[in-house]
């Protein structure tokens, strides 16, 4: 029993220590943003690695999610005779919740774990150390560009997800199930408010991008420099990102969509 409490205490303390290290790491990386802005090449490379390579999985997932929403939504709404509001239902679900959240989760799984593995491997093969000895700050050179790329990519990917999803819902609802084309869009436009829904959704995706990229980069930077350590770090990235995204989603939703 005492052993259990001791372990719990130790783990909690270690957790706080890690959070502290992570915060210093974040501040250092944010400070480095200024020095990489005059070097767009670095940022572009990372935008490619993080954004472009996630493009496919995000759009395909968005399409399927939108199509399922169209299908399920139709069945549920037809019980109330409200099929014409399908467009509004699909759009609201995507823009407010599924777009930012699912994109963030997919991002953490694909781009996040790849970032962790890359940084972890650089640590394990002493590349980060080597850079330090060459008087190049590895955080400014390696971490900051990746951080910026993640932050910029997320809202773009979430918007793409929502857009493709809405089109997918259209394909199923209007194309296959007979919902009126005009109603699909007009109900949507009447019901989705730019500030309350679109802007809030974008804010959510920026927050998720910030947190997910931070976790991914820090887990890689902090990992034990062995191959086992790196593989465990990538798992931690995905798990911790998932917890953070879902937890933050609740908080943000309560703040934004309450009255």
């Amino acid at each position: 029993m005492i052993q259990l409490l001791q372990n719990l205490g130790r783990t909690t303390r270690a957790g706080f220590t890690k959070l502290g290290r992570g915060t210093f790491f974040l501040l250092h990386a944010l400070g480095g943003l200024g020095s990489i802005l005059p070097r767009p090449r670095l940022i572009l490379n990372q935008l490619y690695a993080v954004g472009v390579l996630s493009f496919l999985i995000i759009t395909i997932s968005g399409l399927f999610v939108g199509m399922v929403l169209g299908l399920q939504g139709y069945y549920i709404l037809s019980d109330f005779g409200a099929e014409e509001t399908l467009g509004l239902m699909v759009a609201a679900s995507l823009v407010r919740e599924l777009g930012p959240v699912v994109t963030a989760l997919l991002f953490a799984g694909r781009a996040g774990s790849a970032l962790t593995a890359e940084i972890g491997l650089m640590k394990a093969t002493e590349q980060l150390s080597g850079m330090e000895m060459m008087a190049v700050d590895p955080i400014k050179r390696i971490i900051s560009p990746r951080f910026l790329a993640g932050l910029l990519s997320m809202p773009l990917l979430a918007a793409l997800f929502s857009m493709v999803g809405i089109l997918g819902g259209h394909m199923v609802g209007v194309g296959m199930l007979g919902v009126d084309e005009g109603s699909y869009w007009s109900q949507m436009q009447a019901g989705i408010d730019f500030q309350d829904d679109i802007v809030n959704g974008v804010i959510k995706s920026i927050v998720f991008g910030f947190v997910t990229t931070w976790i991914a980069l820090f887990e890689g930077y902090d990992t034990i420099p062995t191959s086992e350590g790196v593989s465990r770090a990538t798992t931690r990235t995905v798990v911790n990102s998932a917890f953070s995204i879902l937890g933050l989603d609740f908080i943000l939703t309560a703040l934004m969509f309450g009255d």
Binding site: L44, G51, V95, L156, L157, M163, Q189, D193, I198, V202
Partner: protein
């Protein structure tokens, strides 16, 4: 540094696609195209009961949205609901004896302010007040009336 012009093109396409996505959401999906930063003038109306009317609820005339509710407050001296509305300056020929009623869109839909123009030669301007108002229909009252009426009729037929 690994960089090819293919990579650059793809990044450019990605960013462009993302921006297209955002624009799509803004314009095609939301109500952005109507009523952003358009000029409006403010008109007030007092209701005995404004029911389920909310801020940003539409203000319509002849079925067309011409403005939205900007503020709702409670007047503690007259015990009325004071509803403030922003009306698009395009529609500046609304007579000042127009009546305002609170209707419900559809059976369970949201409530809106419906304006029925009067015949006056003077028009509503910024700061005008609409004098003739009809409150929202409260469902509970209607049901209560209905039950009371059917009880009365039953009593009548018994006689």
């Amino acid at each position: 540094m690994q960089h090819t012009s293919t990579q650059d093109t793809l990044v450019g396409l990605f960013v462009a696609a993302g921006i297209v996505g955002l624009l799509f959401l803004a314009l095609q999906v939301s109500n952005l195209s109507t009523f952003i930063e358009e000029d409006t003038y403010t008109v007030t109306a007092r209701f005995e009961n404004s029911g389920g009317l909310k801020i940003k609820s539409p203000v319509s005339a002849a079925g067309v949205k011409i403005g939205q509710v900007s503020a709702i407050s409670f007047d503690p001296t007259t015990y009325e609901s004071v509803v403030e509305m922003h009306i698009n300056t395009k529609y500046n020929t609304i007579p000042d004896d127009t009546s305002a009623s609170i209707f419900t869109a559809g059976l369970l839909g949201e409530q809106y302010v419906n304006l029925v123009p009067g015949g006056s030669e003077e028009y509503l301007k910024n700061g005008s007040t609409i004098e003739i108002t009809q409150s929202a229909i409260i469902l509970e009252k209607v049901i209560g009336q209905f039950l009371f009426k059917s009880a009365e009729e039953k009593a009548e037929t018994k006689k």
